[in-house]
């Protein structure tokens, strides 16, 4: 086997892959990733992938949006060009606050949603022009792949790993 190649076990059912991953992990093999056409719930715990913190990012983008909206409206409406609209008081921010609420809310959602979406695209590295990494075209259709990197499992030979994989109900084991 040439250097840098990874071993893939291809399955035709998500339940078999989950069971297979449990077996493989129990034998002390590090599974580096799985590829599936839809989310497999619980697989991250089996193969040891941490849960995402993207929701925290969304919260931070959201409060940034609220702050920007408050600051912006304070500057535009109170400091820079106070307008007397229908004789309603507008010297103080608090007096105008109720009518600022809709835009504060909308701008919060705008920043939180788009900030999170951008973070999502960058962290996933899914952007226009990026080439896909899935090892087999059918992993976006009805097949499921388990990825094992031999360089992370030096205690075992490639043949041993492949042997263990084959016993877990794979339809194919290949290197790529």
């Amino acid at each position: 086997m040439s250097v840098g190649k990874k071993i893939y076990g291809l399955y035709n059912d998500d339940a078999i892959l989950v069971e297979g991953a449990k077996t493989v992990v129990a034998k002390g093999i590090k599974v580096s990733d799985t590829y599936s056409p839809f989310p497999i719930h619980g697989i991250e715990k089996i193969i040891g992938i941490k849960w995402t913190r993207i929701a925290i990012c969304a919260f931070m983008y959201g409060i940034t949006g609220t702050s920007l909206a408050i600051l912006g409206m304070y500057y535009f409406m109170i400091v820079d060009w106070p307008m007397d609209i229908g004789g309603k008081p507008n010297q103080y921010f608090l007096q105008n606050l109720p009518s600022f609420v809709p835009i504060m809310f909308e701008f919060t959602v705008l920043c939180a949603a788009h900030g999170m979406a951008l973070t999502y695209f960058l962290r996933n590295w899914t952007l226009p022009g990026v080439s896909a990494k899935n090892p087999h075209p059918r992993t976006t259709d009805d097949h499921f792949a388990m990825e094992i990197d031999p360089s992370e499992n030096t205690s075992m030979s490639v043949e041993e790993i492949q042997g263990i994989l084959k016993e877990t109900g794979t339809v194919e084991v290949f290197e790529k």
Binding site: A15, D33, T34, Y35, S36, P37, F38, P39, I40, I43, E44, I47, I49, W51, T52, I54, A55, A58, G62, G72, F76, M77, D80, W81, M83, I85, K88, N90, N96, S99, F100, P102, I103, F105, E106, F107, V109, L110, A112, A113, H114, M116, A117, Y120, N124, T126, L127, P128, G129, V130, S131, A132, K133, N134, P137, R138, T139, T140, D141, D142
Partner: protein, 457 residues
């Protein structure tokens, strides 16, 4: 794995496998369009071109070519705007609110409903744009530093809230829709054999690989976006209603408007989803996924929101009488019995009376009747906005100003034209995009699929 009670209806009928779902959903994208599609597309393009012509005529000549006058200075344009925004409420409601409530039947309809939302909001945004008269000044709605001594937009105005609400709603719905589409574009990309489709779908799929971590992020982002979009859906039509409610015009100046408009928006949005999907399930043979159960569920939403709208109509009448304000009382008396009584009657019949037959189980399970009622609701909701806008304006405080509104061919052309543009976009979407959320459907196949349910019990 998640177990589902056997008394629940299966959401995917027939003997489907993961691969069969892919085949069924990709078939319209990979195959050739039939004659019916070409016929519908041609008619839509012609209507859309007529509408675009009328829009260009309006921009060239100014809005004097519309039927507006000094008394009725808002008419079909704002009616159409509110109608389209209302229709644009179902998509995000289905994908966001129903996601939070874990309603799995949303999965077969959310993709198309969101597409419809996006196209409807595009049509809606057109109307305030051309109503400005000088559309090239449209950037004045944004708070930009300018040469007028930094004169800012008025943040106290509901019209500006609308700018923020509609643009936020549109862009967030678009992002939500696209994030869901990426894994499904990847499926089409990996199945494509010809070079041009493969290249196009590779770009559209953003290099999606379906890694475990990507799916974790995908689900988290969907959940958080749903949480953000849920209050957004309710806020958008509330803000649209405040365009009217914060004015001092009798018939508009009511606090019931925000909830009443939101209920009406969901009502009309679901009706439009129903209209489109009843056709789409037949044309692209997706009866196994968009089942009678889905249609029934949507009918239940329609009858409930329709009843809420009905209560709001009656409450308005009661409050007008109870207020003791004679202008308010006259506004409502004039609505129901004045020269526009026919529009009021149309609204009451289509929105309140006809949907009530959905209380009969047999009726709401009937596809033909569902389709007919959905058309009624679409028409009724257009008349609702017409009644609110035109009848409140046409007889104002000074009787010498009283007049009627007569639409010109341009008013009619633009309205019909937007329906054409909407259908052009929707038909193109139905041929090039995965019309069902593939990845979501596959994830419920084992718990809600017909064949798997039979095996379990």
């Amino acid at each position: 794995m998640h177990q589902e009670s056997e008394i629940r209806y299966p959401l995917i009928l027939g003997d489907k496998t993961y691969h069969q779902i892919t085949e069924d959903v990709c078939a319209p994208v990979e195959g050739r369009a039939n004659k019916l599609w070409y016929a519908a597309f041609t008619i839509s393009v012609v209507v859309a071109l007529w509408g675009l012509g009328c829009i260009m005529y309006t921009i060239g000549r100014g809005i004097g070519v519309w039927g507006l006058n000094t008394t009725v200075d808002w008419a079909w344009d704002i009616t159409n705007f509110v109608w389209w925004v209302g229709i644009g409420h179902a998509g995000t409601l289905i994908s966001a609110v129903l996601l939070l409530f874990r309603q799995k039947w949303r999965m077969a309809i959310n993709r198309s409903a969101e597409a419809m939302t996006i196209f409807a909001v595009m049509m809606a945004a057109l109307f305030p744009g051309i109503h400005m008269g000088r559309i090239w000044m449209a950037y004045w709605v944004l708070p930009l530093p300018n040469q007028f001594g930094s004169l800012w937009v008025n943040f106290n105005s509901p019209l500006l809230w609308d700018v923020f609400a509609i643009s936020t709603y549109f862009s967030v719905s678009l992002v939500f829709w696209y994030i869901g589409l990426i894994p499904d574009f990847a499926t089409i990309r990996d199945r494509a054999t010809r070079i041009i489709p493969k290249t196009i779908y590779s770009v559209l799929a953003f290099g999606w690989s379906g890694k475990a971590k990507q799916w974790i992020r995908f689900e988290e982002v969907s959940l958080v976006l749903a949480g953000l979009a849920t209050p957004l859906v309710f806020s958008v039509h509330s803000i649209v209603s405040m365009d009217f409610a914060t004015s001092v015009v009798p018939g508009w100046h009511t606090t019931i408007f925000p909830p009443y408009f939101v209920a009406g928006a969901i009502f009309s949005g679901f009706a439009m989803v129903q209209t489109l999907l009843i056709i789409a399930r037949k044309v692209v043979s997706l009866e196994s996924y968009i089942t009678r159960k889905h249609i029934e569920s949507m009918n239940i939403v329609i009858v409930i929101t329709g009843s809420m709208v009905g209560i709001a109509y009656l409450t308005e009448l009661f409050i007008a009488w109870y207020s003791g304000v004679e202008f308010e009382q006259y506004a409502f008396l004039n609505r129901a019995t004045g020269p526009y009584w026919w529009a009021y009657a149309m609204m009451m019949t289509c929105n309140v009376v006809t949907p009530l037959i959905f209380f009969v189980e047999k009726v709401r399970k009937s596809i033909v009747i569902s389709f007919i009622i959905s058309i009624f609701v679409n028409i009724g909701m257009w008349f609702e906005r017409f009644v609110i806008i035109v009848t409140s304006l046409h007889r104002d405080f000074i009787p010498s100003n009283w007049t009627m509104f007569h639409p010109t061919f341009v008013d009619i052309g633009i309205f019909i034209g937007t329906i054409g543009i909407f259908f052009v976009l929707f038909l193109l979407y139905a041929r090039t995009f995965p019309v069902l959320a593939l990845n979501e459907l596959k994830s419920i196949l084992k718990s809600s699929g017909d064949n798997y349910k039979k095996q379990q019990h």
